[in-house]
């Protein structure tokens, strides 16, 4: 009998040009909460996908309770008692909670699905582990925190002994996170093993029993949480001391650049997504918008940038009313925009680097006359942007699909900075980037601010908002519920606003 619930030995996975996992060893004891930490790109998700049978490792072996196992699909992993809660939920939006949970292991009666039996089983599991959820509810109507519970229920329904949680807190408020931690502890106390993947040190310290650190695809440390501290883990994670938490030097805000008054936006299903939003952004300041994903931030940004209809209120940019202007009109009035989805919106995959850099500038009189391009001016512009922003590409006629995520974001940032617009809207500008690229983007935002630009920054990363913002607006259910000074507020307090616990607070 092995002392390990789960053991990985020498797991290696190569992608063209990348060694995603390099001879990784991992040993997980039964009924422990085992954290796996590492920066973005350290190989955490690849390792978990290999473990879950989504694709095979190039080398190495997996043991469960001492038995060697070979997974050719997720199904094998499920059969072996593994359950996975993915970072992006794998749920069917139009199906009910119960249908999502029982999917492929449906209780049947005379060949037909036994709906009542399925719902009962879901309710029973939910009660036992404190996962409040209505089995009859349709998934697309549920908030993110509940979706995560559905994912956990799916794993428990399949009797998972080992539960893998991939960055489970990324979408949660601090309060929801604490509730999740309770559930996790309860599961451990019931004898289940938890693999907890994260890049947040605070969570490692507060929830895990043991921690494995990944760096550049290698497992570089295996520590008892009680015997280590954040500094030691950081050192293992980065190989150097990094201080992302340092605040940018203060600047004196200047004139009002963006003035939003009573903005109301109707979202999907005809419900208001943004209600009566009032705020302003001045030159020389970064205004951060905090909030749990899905509380109207996307709709707010889309409405500001002309991609969504405005149903009430006004938007004034540098004294010009742009409430009814189209995208081109807004850009002409001085709006630059780094969108959240740099793959689907910020760039066009099959188009060249040059064509992507040109987008939006293509109407500028510098490079075209009466609808015909000045090819020399176009080449000059794209070459300069590539040089100034250090975009790594051998030729601007290359398709952007060949660029890495960080390099692609440089294309977007370079293009948007080139407008010389007084206002920059940045939506999740660093999501999924490695540390080097994050530092680049942050540096650009600060440089823009120091040159007198006004920045509206939306981010799901509270730490990013806290580190960069001059002021913080908190959104909850489509409303601006607070305007806070980052120097005078603590993370948990922002969390209270994000969950709507301080609805009476006025917006400044």
């Amino acid at each position: 009998m092995s002392t390990f619930e789960l053991e990985l030995r020498g797991i290696t996975k190569r992608y063209p040009g990348v060694l995603a996992n390099d001879a990784v060893d991992l040993a997980v004891r039964p009924a422990e909460i085992h954290a796996i930490v590492g920066e973005n790109g350290a190989g955490k998700t690849t390792l978990m996908s290999l473990l879950y049978g989504l694709f095979p490792p190039d080398e190495g072996r997996i043991f469960i309770r001492g038995e060697p196992v070979h997974f050719s699909s997720a199904l094998d992993a499920i059969a072996a008692g593994l359950g996975m809660v993915h970072q992006s939920f794998k749920l069917f939006p139009t199906l009910s909670v119960a249908d999502n949970v029982v999917f492929r292991q449906e209780p049947t009666r005379r060949g037909l699905i036994d709906r009542a039996a399925g719902a009962d089983r879901v309710r029973e599991l939910a009660d036992r582990y404190g996962l409040a959820v209505d089995p009859e509810a349709v998934v697309e109507d549920l908030p993110v925190g509940v979706l995560q519970r559905v994912e956990i229920l799916k794993a428990l329904y399949r009797d998972a002994q080992v539960l893998i949680l991939d960055e489970p807190t990324a979408v949660l408020t601090p309060q929801e996170r604490d509730k999740l931690f309770e559930v996790i502890r309860r599961l451990r106390d019931a004898g289940r093993t938890i693999l907890f993947i994260t890049h947040k040190l605070g969570e490692v310290m507060s929830i895990s029993d043991r921690v494995t650190v990944l760096r550049n695809g290698r497992a570089v440390a295996d520590l008892m949480t009680a015997e280590t501290d954040p500094a030691e883990i950081t050192l293992h994670m980065t190989g150097r001391a990094v201080d992302l938490g340092s605040r940018a030097p203060e600047h004196q805000p200047g004139r009002v650049v963006l003035e939003v008054d009573g903005l109301t936006v109707i979202g999907g299903h005809g419900r208001p997504a943004v209600t009566d939003a009032n705020f302003e952004v001045r030159s020389g300041e970064i205004v951060g918008v905090a909030g749990v994903a899905g509380n109207g931030q996307s709709e707010l940004i889309e409405a500001l940038c002309g991609l969504r209809e405005i149903d009430g209120g006004s938007v004034i940019l540098s004294g010009q009313d742009i409430t009814d202007a189209d995208v081109a009109g807004r850009r002409a009035a001085g709006l630059a925009y780094i969108p959240e989805d740099r793959y689907g919106v910020g760039t066009t995959r099959q188009a060249s680097v040059a064509d992507n850099l040109l987008m939006g500038h293509h109407l500028s009189s510098r490079i075209q006359r009466k609808g015909w391009f000045d090819r020399k001016a176009v080449a000059k512009l794209t070459r300069r942007l590539v040089d100034v922003f250090g975009i790594k590409v051998d030729s601007v006629s290359r398709s952007v699909s060949t660029l890495s995520g960080g390099n692609l974001q440089k294309v977007v940032v370079a293009r948007e900075m080139e407008y010389g617009a007084p206002l920059l809207v940045a939506e999740q500008p660093t999501r999924g980037l490695d540390i080097g690229a994050i530092e680049f983007v942050h540096g650009q935002l600060i440089r823009f601010r120091d040159q007198g630009g006004a920045v509206l920054l939306v981010s799901a990363e509270l730490s990013e908002i806290l580190a960069l913002s001059t002021r913080i607006l908190v959104m909850f259910e489509g409303r601006m519920v607070a305007c806070l000074d980052p120097a005078a507020v603590a993370e948990p307090d922002i969390g209270l606003y994000m969950t709507g616990s301080h609805l009476e607070a006025a917006v400044g």
């Binding site: 997720a74 499920i78 794998k90 069917f92 199906l95 492929r104």
Partner: protein, 305 residues
Amino acid sequence: MFEQILDTALFDSATRAMVPILLAALGGMICERAGVFQIALEGIMLTGAFAAVAGSYLALSSGAGVIFGVAAGMMISLVLAYGTVTRRGDPIVLGIALNLLAMGLTGFLLPQLFDVRGVFQHARIDGLDRLPIPGLSQIPWVGPVLFDNTVLTYVALLLVPALWIFLFRTPIGLRLRGVGERPLAAETLGVSPTAYKYGAVLASGALAGMAGAQLSLGNVVQFAENMSSGRGWVAVVAVMLGRAHPVGVVAAAALFALAEALGFRFQGNGLPVQVTDALPFVVTLIALIVARKRFARLLDLTTAG
């Protein structure tokens, strides 16, 4: 005036007009549920019509004809499944090309195999007989309209509740819908999207092939070039209009069929054939405009964003 137009004969001809559209649309519905955009129904129906006549002519049996039609439909749909599912080709490009392939292939084989042009009629072609259902066919109004028809008519009508139960009450149906909605999610639970999509496309091929057989052995007993004449496209619209739900699909198919039957009737009353031929398409276009809110997904599929 209305009494002259609205009689059992009208609804009887509407039923006959409906069956091919309904069969093809039910096939399209299964594909839609499995997340495959199926616009090759027109070509599959045409191929099925040709194969059914050929099979009936060769084997002297309408049953063999239907089997030929179904098999031919499945062969075309197999190409579609291979192209879109295995090769990840563009379903719209493939659908259009397969429709044109069916047009060319039937147009080529007609003179090549039977030495005729345009229309193929022969005493050897065994048509589908009307099989009145004892008892039910005696019911006034409903009986002659629904229960005195070809066996494929009964198949089509029975498929409506059968597919409703299949999609919404059986494990396989649930998994099919899951595959259509989120293939990756289904895959992580061990349901192979590839297998389900192949199954759905093949089923649609069988049904659209059967629709062709009804066209060339049931509604008439002959093959005419291009005889599907847009019915497959009407079926595509019926799937969207019916929100890929069996009840909605049958309602949409009935609406279009009624328009076609009314067209025939007006033709008898002296309206030019060119005008009455356009009636089902005009009704389809109007239905599209009236129910346009339902087409967001189709629009997303057929535009680049």
